[in-house]
């Protein structure tokens, strides 16, 4: 495929993917990569330079102010004070994806999720925050292009998160897809989805609410089950004549199964029904119908969580692992650099690992990546460390009770692959209020780590 064809190929898919991108790309100012090192801007406002002070040390540019990018930005200078760190995000206001379902039932308020400033984070951690959108990358000259100008880097970290893949749930018609996205959001990417879901909880007066669970390594494994439990609890508490149906693409609850089943059976019998092996094969947003292989379901309201993939930015920059089923990045499995390029890294939920795509994974991974970058800036290497996934799920909101998992991961040097959870993985699946309290402190600790406030 020559570059022209390659670009045309990208533009063909770009329309669908761009709308779902978390940290996306402005306009069509892209050429897809022909080789590993030559993705570049093909236009757009990338002629001038970003108006920033001259770098005072090796410049580390980080794209994406989510858990991964912000953790690396917060720890980079602690690990190597000479770093000159610039964090770039197209958003100018943070709102947390993790813990967001707790808002819908009043366990927390919006301030808990959103009262965190990128400005404070930059000041507290001694870096520069830039509000801009990435438009291209030139690996050969180590230049990142944005809509506000270009910036050179010594090290670049791309942490753009995920995008949705509606085609995998049979939603291919553009008009219908936009209807599904806007009316029944998955709620695992952007704050506007959370605001919509919060409204849905408050407006639901009865009937059937469907929560779908996709296949694959989707973001926040327990998240859709947790949300279904919270909706069932909301219905129960408010005596709403409604029911919750979980349509699960998987044959079993994907994590903390014992704890979730206990909640389904003990707290929500007659209100919540869980249907395994029920992958969504189509949605009619207008008629409010979800299809699976053998059935179709008419619903009153829903949160339709499609399959996910590496953020479209990764594909647009030509950095996808050709073996990845979710179009995730082609990176070294231990040290996160793009294979063959020690200057560009991809972290967080666009990584091509079987890691749980969760906040604590990205937070602990980010702390490690900051050490990798600090070492490499000084010409050194360090040993691989597993991230850790401490993850709570609120299975009851009245009163708040949670369950928990604590997992690390195993690396197999023979295959150079992460093989799954380590043998010392523990779960706590008898819900209790102590874990409900710990859940909130868990989130606040991660916010403090990211924002320094």
């Amino acid at each position: 495929m020559d570059e022209t064809n390659s670009r045309r190929g990208f533009l063909k898919m770009g329309g669908a993917a761009l709308a779902a991108a978390s940290t996306g790309v402005a306009g069509t100012a892209f050429a897809a990569a022909k080789g590993e090192k030559h993705a570049h801007a093909a236009g757009g406002m990338s002629g001038g330079k970003l108006d920033l002070p001259k770098a005072k040390g090796p410049r580390l540019v980080i794209v994406g102010a989510g858990t991964s990018g912000m953790t690396i930005a917060a720890h980079a200078k602690k690990e190597y004070p000479n770093f000159d760190v610039v964090l770039i995000d197209k958003r100018d206001m943070y709102s947390s994806c993790f813990n967001s379902s707790l808002w819908y039932v009043g366990v927390i308020n919006l301030e808990f999720l959103a009262a965190h400033s990128f400005l404070d984070a930059a000041v507290n951690n001694n870096y520069i925050f830039v509000n801009a959108t990435v438009t291209g990358l030139d690996q050969a000259t180590r230049t990142l292009h944005t809509n506000e100008g270009e910036i050179g880097y010594d090290f670049l970290v791309l942490a753009p998160g995920i995008s949705y893949d509606y085609a995998k749930i049979g939603v291919k018609d553009v008009e219908n897809r936009i209807g599904v996205q806007q009316k029944f959001p998955g709620g695992f990417i952007s704050p506007m989805e959370h605001v919509t879901l919060n409204r849905k909880f408050k407006e639901f007066e009865g009937g059937l609410f469907i929560q779908t669970v996709p296949s694959g390594n989707y973001r926040c494994l327990p998240g859709p089950y947790e949300r279904a439990c919270l909706m069932a609890g909301w219905i129960k508490k408010n005596k709403i004549p409604g029911k919750v149906l979980i349509l699960d693409a998987n044959p079993e609850v994907t994590i903390k199964a014992k704890g979730f089943h206990a909640a389904f059976d003990e707290l929500y019998k007659g209100i919540l029904e869980w249907k395994p092996t029920s992958a969504v094969t189509g949605v009619d947003a207008e008629k409010k119908i979800i299809k699976t292989e053998f059935d179709s379901y008419k619903f009153d309201d829903a949160s339709i969580y499609p399959n996910i993939r590496g953020n479209t930015l990764i594909e647009q920059l030509g950095l996808v692992d050709p073996k990845s089923l979710q179009k995730e990045a082609n990176i070294d499995v231990r040290f996160y650099n793009i294979k063959g390029d020690p200057h560009v890294y991809v972290t967080g939920d666009s990584r091509n690992h079987p890691y749980s795509k969760s906040a604590n994974t990205s937070n602990t991974e980010g702390q490690f990546v900051a050490k990798v970058l600090a070492a490499r800036a000084q010409g050194k290497e360090i040993a691989w460390e597993s991230p850790e996934t401490v993850c709570f799920s609120m299975t009851n909101a009245f009163p708040p009770e949670a369950i928990k998992v604590d997992a690390k991961y195993t690396y197999d040097p023979k295959t150079d692959a992460i093989t799954g959870f380590s043998p010392d993985t523990k779960t706590w699946e008898t819900r209790d209020q102590a874990m409900g309290r710990a859940y909130l402190e868990w989130a606040q600790g991660i916010y403090r780590d990211m924002f320094g406030a």
Partner: protein, 235 residues
């Protein structure tokens, strides 16, 4: 190791302390003297080392009004000498327990991982003399937010979790004649400035504006954690 020896170990770093206004909340190095403060109970009576309960930690504020600390009576002596290190690479040595049984220790009650601390509403940080499910052993300080584990018998050494450094220690002094306990300073990682930066708004709201950074002098009330926090959780 007695107090004099400990100061000798840390002397070099202690000298670097307290130059300029900013440094009132900061101690460079691994140790700093603060006011000598007698630890008393809720009625103002001096706590006696031999009479301390061993089921949980006591909470007191030191060296500033906004800093929570643990006072713990361990079942056995906590010998001095364990080598410890901060994330800054500064090495120091555990001064050991005080009291007739050398089993009374003090720590700043702030998780060095992501700064959870005992609040009036709840505490994720606690000392549990019984078995900890997270640690798989007895007699540890745990933070249930991210499963950090510390050893109070070995200078707050990290036993588990992603926490990067030991709990900062409170240097205690024991009066053998009266069995009374005094806090005289801190050693280990310097978290005070960072703690205040993260919680200034909350501390202002709870204690009054600027009160959190007032030095504690004279005496400090040490209250069992179960009385200090409405829910003291262990894990």
């Amino acid at each position: 190791m007695d107090r004099r020896d400990f100061i000798k170990v840390c002397g070099a770093s202690a000298v670097a302390v307290a130059a300029g206004a900013q440094s009132r909340l900061v101690y460079s190095g691994t140790a700093k003297d603060f006011a000598r403060v007698k630890l008393v109970d809720e009625t103002g009576q001096p706590l006696k080392a031999a009479s301390l309960g061993q089921k949980e930690a006591y909470v007191f504020n030191y060296p500033y009004a906004g800093i929570p600390c643990f006072l713990i009576s361990l079942p056995d002596a906590a010998p001095a000498g364990a080598p410890l290190k901060t994330t800054e690479g500064e090495e120091y040595s555990f001064p050991g327990g005080v009291g007739a049984k050398k089993n009374v220790v003090g720590y700043m009650a702030v998780c060095t991982h992501q700064f959870a601390y005992p609040k009036k509403s709840e505490s994720q940080l606690s000392y549990n003399p019984g078995n900890s499910e997270v640690a798989g052993r007895t007699g540890v300080i745990t933070c249930c937010a991210h499963n950090s584990v510390y050893d109070p018998a070995v200078g707050g050494k990290v036993l588990g979790g992603k926490t990067p450094q030991p709990l900062p220690g409170v240097r205690l002094e024991h009066d053998a004649a009266t069995d009374e306990i005094y806090a005289t300073g801190l050693y280990g990682a310097d978290l005070i400035e960072d703690f205040f930066k993260k919680f200034k708004a909350k501390l202002n709201a709870e204690l009054g504006f600027g009160k959190y950074k007032e030095e504690v002098t004279g005496s400090a009330q040490a209250v069992p954690l179960s009385k200090y926090s409405a829910s003291a959780d262990s894990c």
